[in-house]
């Protein structure tokens, strides 16, 4: 009884990165452990893939 499309499903990727940066409510930005702004470190963003279009979000499906 499984819908056809689910024959092609695979486990969702885990993109949890909470240990790398944390939200600073004063700045309204996420900051790295050394105090730098995470969004300004493009090399890190590329490595983490947190700005990437990936399937698997629980609440958002606009990739």
């Amino acid at each position: 009884m499984q819908p056809f499309a689910l024959n092609y499903a695979r486990p969702a990727a885990d993109v949890e990165v909470t240990a790398v940066y944390a939200y600073d409510s004063g700045l309204q930005l996420n900051v790295l452990l050394d105090g730098r702004i995470a969004a300004s470190d493009h090399a890190l963003l590329r490595e983490l893939g947190t700005t990437t279009s990936t399937a698997g979000s629980k609440t958002h499906f606009d990739d």
């Binding site: 009884m1 499984q2 819908p3 056809f4 499309a5 689910l6 024959n7 092609y8 499903a9 695979r10 486990p11 969702a12 990727a13 990165v17 909470t18 940066y21 939200y23 409510s25 700045l27 309204q28 930005l29 996420n30 702004i37 995470a38 969004a39 300004s40 493009h42 963003l45 590329r46 893939g49 947190t50 700005t51 990437t52 279009s53 990936t54 399937a55 698997g56 979000s57 629980k58 609440t59 958002h60 499906f61 606009d62 990739d63």
Partner: protein, 327 residues
């Protein structure tokens, strides 16, 4: 005048825009609707024929009259982090928040009603056709026989979710996947199934639209890529996205799409075939853009910040029975 950003705390892509807003000294309030009624609060008063409303988040208070724009980025489910969350409380909170924001006169990226319609892929496909964008032959059906007949006409098919939603329990992703020519389509009866002619692509295209500005990026398909590797999100290539020119006819059609959809932001996915034709796949009304900016250096975040920062147009108001504009 303040820019209100509705998103989660961990949304580092939104941070890319906040950085530019801070640099321009544009006031920002970032609010996650999930934090209602804990870290976020609201109040609105309808008295003597007038409306006054306020929001607070993270200790910041903003008048709804003081909003220049609202960016609906990745908002959490309203009140989902409340002390005693419930579907009822979520609905109450959603109605209160979005109902009052709709009364604010602020510019939206994107308007919630337009966004709701624009999320529907079947609508997207028809709207794209009507705007002159090439759309691969597509079937959405629950009839197994219709699927079989479509496969006879278009033997090289892919399947993808109609909604783009991802099944949970356990969390799974459903990539766009190639369908074997001898596939058993009986299970089509158990859920709407979107089948589409596979375009033999030489590149993926991501076209990000912010207001009137189009920023396109292209990722070539590796020469040794397997034809089953259909979905660029799951492709093994490490090639970066590169800036690309938008063909004039595509640009014209995309602008018509945005106008017709009443969207201020959209992230279009195309595939480019061997003839250089861009085939429309979908338009994500809140699609990710950080990964494109990181690879290409295109100023997407800055362009969004500039759009959000624009002054609010004078609002018509009714004075003594006549329409007037006030600043």
């Amino acid at each position: 005048m303040t820019v209100l950003i509705l998103t989660t705390e961990e949304d580092v892509t939104a941070d890319m825009v906040v950085v530019h807003l801070h640099a321009c000294a544009v006031p920002v309030v970032r609010l996650d609707p999930a934090d209602l009624t804990g870290g976020a609060a609201l109040s609105g008063e309808y008295v003597h024929g007038a409306f006054r409303g306020h929001l607070s988040s993270g200790g910041r208070l903003v008048s709804l009259d003081g909003l220049r724009s609202v960016w609906v980025r990745r908002p959490g489910i309203p009140a989902s982090r409340a002390a005693r969350p419930s579907p009822w409380l979520t609905e109450e909170s959603a109605q209160a928040l979005y109902g009052m924001l709709r009364s604010s006169g602020a510019r939206w990226m994107n308007d919630p009603d337009a966004a709701h319609r624009a999320r529907h892929k079947p609508w997207q496909l028809r709207h794209a056709q009507s705007c002159g964008l090439p759309v691969p032959a597509t079937l959405i059906t629950t009839f197994p026989q219709a699927a079989r007949e479509f496969a006879d006409r278009y033997p090289d098919l892919v399947v993808k979710p109609v909604s783009g939603a991802h099944p949970q329990d356990p969390p799974r992703a459903v990539p766009t996947s190639r369908v074997s020519p001898d596939a058993d389509f009986a299970a089509v009866a158990f859920g709407p199934t979107l089948l589409q002619r596979r375009v033999a692509k030489r590149a993926d295209i991501r076209l990000t639209v912010v207001g009137e500005r189009l920023l396109a990026a292209r990722k070539p398909v590796a020469a040794d890529a397997h034809p089953d590797e259909v979905d660029v999100r799951f492709a093994s290539t490490t090639a970066p996205w590169e800036p690309a020119e938008v063909p004039p006819r595509i640009a014209e059609s995309v602008r018509a799409y945005m106008r017709g959809a009443e969207l201020a932001y959209g992230a279009f996915d195309f595939v480019e075939d061997a003839d250089g034709t861009w085939w429309f796949l979908e338009c994500n009304q809140s699609g990710q853009f950080g990964f494109i900016e990181v690879d290409t250096g295109q100023p997407i975040a800055r362009t969004i910040a500039e759009w959000l920062s624009r002054p609010v147009a004078p609002r018509p108001t009714r004075l003594n029975g006549a329409n007037s504009a006030v600043s």
